[in-house]
Each structure stands twice: as C-alpha cells, then as structure tokens.
C-alpha cells in the first residue's frame, strides 16, 4: 500500500469536468496529510493534451486504447481496476457522476476495496481516512470510517473548490499498458445524442421561477408561467417535472440538467436534493418557498419562506404586474 492519493479524471468531448479539479484540490490536501503523491488517472484515447491542466498532480497515469475513446462503463472499469490493483493507492477519488457511478462500485468489487459514495468531504484523522456523505436528499450527513486501506470515495460535484485544483504544469506521465480484456467488451458505445434545441435557454435568463414536485399538477404550470412572465423571467424546474413531461428537458436545472447562475432564483416546492443544488447554488439571490421547514433548499437559499406556495404565488404575480 502506498501513501498516494489517486484521482480519476473525468472528461467529456475533450474537456475535463469541473469535478475533476475539485477532486484534485481535495486530493492534494489528502496526499499532503498522508505524505504521499497526488496521482491523476487519465483514461481515454488521444487525450494526453489534458495532462497540462492537471499541474497540481505529481504524476498522471495515462491509459490509452481505442475502446476508451468514449466513456464506456465496462472498458473504463476494467482499465481503472487494473491500474488500482497494480498501484494500491491509499485512496481513489471518483466523481459521483453519471460516469463515476459506473466506475466506483465496479472498482470496489473488482479490487475488493471499501467504498463510500455521495461524499462532500474526505479528511485524514490520526492517519485514517474519514469521508462525509450527504444522504437522505441532503437532509442528513454521515461520517464513515473504512475497515481497510485503499478506500474508493465517490465525490459529489460542487462540494469543494475547483479553483484549488486548477494549476497548469507538466506532471510526469506514466503510460500504463491497457489490459488485453478491453478488446471485445460486452458494452459497446454507439453514439452521442445531443439535446434538441429550440426552446428557451434558461442559462441566459436573469430571473428564473423554478418549480418542483410541490406544484402538484401539470394544471398548475400556466399559473407558474404567469408568475415567471410577471417577474420578467423564465420557468425552470426540477427533474421530476421533466420526468412527468410537464415541462421540456431544456428547463431542467441540476446534475443531469443544466447549471444556471441567474441573478434571481425563486424555488417553488423544490426540496433541494443534492442533484438539484448542483445546478443552482451559484445563483446570486435564491428565494425558496417550501412547506417543509426542514427542506434542504433552505440551507442554500438566501431567503426562505415556510408555507404553501399556492398562498403566495397569486399575490406575488399580482404585485409583480403592478
């Protein structure tokens, strides 16, 4: 077992994800506390140009192979498990993202390593790692300890500063031979599917009225649209509203939707699950109306109102029109 901390670099379409820098920043702290190196693991094909953006790392392990050209749950897990088994780092940080969800658990089982997911923090205490996870839709935090070295920690995006992990440089690159088993995977990448355009672009709006499951019915959408119009903004929403087909996917804020940074974000009947928070926490002014005084959205809003949104929306629309 080494004292090194490994970070799995996540990238899409030739760009490193912000969460990669967040993990590199966190990984640097951990590596310093353990007296080890910070090592980035870069899986892909023809992506070595990304190495210079990871100057904060002491070293980058690069695995390149045609089957790693696009993210693939099987080839990426196979290659990653091979690297981790060969190098035995003290910990491996993986993003708790769409890609990371297919990697972290696979690595845990294939390499026999402990795993903690949904981490918002990891620290070293008396030499041992302690990870804090955000669970129950953001309502509770849980600190975990590990029964063995080599922990795999999957980190929620937005939990720590990306700027701390951003540094250009030229870390040493170690080429790691791709495992032979990558040749005939049972999971095969076919194509990327881009979202349909043509709808309102909520990322460009100064004012967003954002609705969640608390609006209760598709029949209430027009009322919410009226409020958005009166406030001079657009209507956005949480994921269940899109899954229920009440609003198009283009309006979804969050992890699998878009990231927004409006001047004013009015959250109506949105609980504030971590996946939603990821997309709106940087809004300049957040006001939330929720009937549950313990709703996590109040931990991120600047102003909160505990109450029934339907008591306030009509009045607010009227006043905004005045």
């Amino acid at each position: 077992m080494s004292q090194d901390i490994f970070v799995v670099a996540e990238h899409l379409k030739g760009k490193l994800a912000d969460v990669t820098f967040e993990m590199l920043g966190k990984g640097r702290e951990l590596a310093d506390a353990r007296g080890g190196n910070l090592v980035a693991v870069l899986l892909g094909n023809g992506v070595k140009n990304l190495v210079t953006e990871m100057g904060i790392a002491n070293r980058v392990i690069s695995v390149e192979h045609a089957s790693l050209e696009n993210f693939n749950p099987e080839t990426y897990s196979t290659a990653l498990a091979e690297v981790i088994r060969a190098k035995s780092p003290a910990a491996t940080l993986v993003a708790n993202s769409s890609m990371g969800m297919d990697l972290a658990a696979a690595l845990s089982i294939r390499a026999g390593l402990p795993l903690v997911a949904y981490a918002i923090d990891v620290k070293v205490e008396d030499g041992a790692l302690v990870a804090t996870s955000q669970l129950y839709g953001g309502k509770l935090n849980v600190e975990s300890q590990f029964s063995a070295e080599g922990a795999v920690v999957s980190m929620l995006a937005g939990a720590s500063s990306a700027d701390k992990g951003r540094a250009t440089g030229s870390p040493a690159v170690e080429d790691f031979a791709p495992p032979l088993s990558l040749a005939s995977p049972k999971v095969r990448f076919k194509k990327m599917i881009e979202p349909e355009g043509g709808d309102v672009d909520i990322t460009t709006k100064e004012v967003l009225v954002s609705v969640g499951r608390g609006i209760q019915s598709v029949d209430n959408i027009p009322q919410m649209q009226e409020l958005a119009d009166a406030l001079g903004g657009a209507l956005s929403c949480s994921r269940p509203i899109v899954d229920s087909k009440w609003l198009p996917k283009t309006r979804q804020v969050g992890k699998s939707g878009v990231k927004v940074k409006p001047k004013f974000y009015l959250a109506l009947g949105i609980s504030g699950a971590p996946e939603h928070i990821e997309g709106m926490k940087d809004a300049e002014l957040i006001v939330a109306i929720n009937s549950d005084p313990n709703a996590p959205i109040f931990d991120y809003a600047h102003y909160g109102i505990v109450g029934d949104l339907f008591d306030i929306v009509p009045l607010l629309t009227e006043k905004a029109k005045a």
């Binding site: 899409l12 696009n70 993210f71 749950p73 769409s98 890609m99 969800m101 297919d102 972290a104 658990a105 845990s108 402990p114 795993l115 903690v116 997911a117 669970l135 129950y136 839709g137 309502k139 509770l140 849980v142 600190e143 975990s144 300890q145 590990f146 029964s147 063995a148 080599g150 922990a151 049972k186 999971v187 095969r188 990448f189 076919k190 990327m192 599917i193 881009e194 001079g232 229920s244 283009t250 979804q252 992890k255 699998s256 939707g257 878009v258 990231k259 004013f264 002014l285 006001v287 939330a288 109040f298 931990d299 991120y300 809003a301 600047h302 102003y303 008591d311 306030i312 607010l316 905004a320």
Partner: protein, 255 residues
C-alpha cells in the same frame, strides 16, 4: 425474457428524520417507509418492456418490515412474481451486503435483464445496480433513461449533463440502473393490492453468504450544519409577496 427488478424501501423524506441515541443511524422505529422512487421507475420500465417484447417480470426485495406489501403492490401493478430474499437484515444492511444477497438470490433464478433504481437516498456505500452487476459478473450501464431490447442485446441511453446522452449496446444478461422510465410510474388502487395479497403468494430465496471483502461503517450521523441557512421571511402572504418584490428591486431587477 426474464426481467428481474430488485426494489427496496427508503425513508419518506417528507417526514422528520430522527437520529438514534448513539448518533449512528436513523431511529428506525420512527421511520415511515416508501418504495425508492427510482426503483418504481425501474419497475415501470420493466412492465413497459414486457408489454413490448413479452416475458415475465419478477420483483425481488430483501426481507424486512413492510417488504410483503411492497412486493404485492408491484404484483398489483403487473409484475408476475414477487421474491423475498431471506436472511438476517434486521437493523439495516450496507449496500454491499444488500447487493451480495441480491446477487446470490438472482444467480439461482433465470435472468436476462435486471433493472433497478439508479440510486436511493440511503445507499451510503454505493448504488445497487453497479454493485450487483459486479457481484454477478455481468455488464452494467447506470443512469439509464431509455431501454430497448433486441434479441440478446439491449440498446440503452445513458444520461450525462445538459440533456446529452450516450447510446450503448449491451449484451444480456446485464444490470441497468434506471434513472427514469419512459412513462411516469403507474399507480394502483389499495383495493387491488389487498386483492392481490389474498390471491398471490411470495416466493422465498435464501440470501446465503453475504460476507464482503472490505467495508466501511458509520461513525456519526448528523444534521447538516446550518451556517449558511436562509434568512426566514415571515408574515402574511401579502407581506411575503411585498418582500420578494422588494428583494428583486434591490437587485435592480424590477422597476
């Protein structure tokens, strides 16, 4: 085609969550449970697939407090069979143990496609779909929104951010972590569930050896620190509306 759907119950977040005296877990006596909403989506997608290509849908759950009711509800919605995985699960289990138990049970049953929820609000040590696939040694794709089956393969859409998706072809058997079904999960009347409860019987399969290689344990459970908590606006709806308009004016957003 044999479609298997592992489902589980999670605390209903609408209720207040109490932490136990040791500060290591929920006070489970005070918890109100409901089906994990993503498992409900997995079940819906399985029922849609069955309607499309035929086969059977089997729901499975680890034996626990209200497992029977959850399984009967799934049968009432259209599943063909309910299986209880029996073992010592009192007091809750980690995701690893749950996945190992589920893998042991599934390996005794015919299975072509396994659909389960992408995540649950309490899976601290990892999500079921990918843990399960790796214990079974079959391929996986998680965060899936669209599933088509074509012979011995599935064509699936995995969601990234901003509506971008990747399409994969997966050899079966495989495990898919379902984010959202093609249709909103169906409802079923309580009277129908009661009727099923009288007519159907649940099968039982033993979990067997659920020892896992390496694990983690909870040291402390706590409410998040409220350092940055919102300033609460109180008053009549009228006063609240005025205050919101005033806040926007301060930001120069409303004349």
């Amino acid at each position: 085609m044999n479609i298997l759907v592992p489902i589980k119950q999670v605390p209903d977040l609408v209720e207040e969550l109490e932490i136990n005296e040791e500060g290591t877990d929920l006070n489970r006596d005070a918890v109100k449970y409901k089906i994990n909403e993503f498992d409900d989506h997995a079940l819906e997608e399985a029922l849609q697939l069955k309607a499309e290509v035929g086969g059977t849908v089997t729901v499975l759950a680890l034996d626990g407090d209200e497992t029977d009711k959850m399984l009967y509800t799934a049968i009432a919605k259209g599943a063909d069979k309910g299986v209880k995985v029996t073992g010592d699960f009192a007091g809750g289990v980690t995701s690893h143990v749950a996945a190992k138990a589920m893998a042991n049970a599934i390996s005794t049953l015919p299975h072509d496609l396994i659909l389960t929820g992408v995540q649950a609000v309490d899976d601290r040590d990892g999500q079921m779909a990918v843990l399960l696939a790796n214990y079974l040694g079959v391929p996986h794709v998680s965060v899936v929104t669209g599933v088509k089956v074509d012979g011995g393969r599935a064509i699936v859409h995995k969601e990234y951010a901003g509506g971008v998706m990747a399409e994969f072809e997966v050899d079966l058997p495989a495990v898919l972590g379902i984010q959202a079904a093609r249709e909103t999960p169906r409802y079923v009347a309580v009277s129908r569930v009661r009727q099923v409860q009288k007519e159907a019987t649940l099968e039982e399969v033993e979990a067997g050896d659920t020892a896992v290689a390496a694990g983690s344990s909870v040291r402390r459970m706590m409410k998040p620190e409220k350092g940055s908590r919102a300033e609460m606006i109180e008053g009549s709806p009228e006063e609240i509306a005025d205050k919101i308009v005033a806040l926007m004016k301060e930001k120069g957003l409303k004349k």
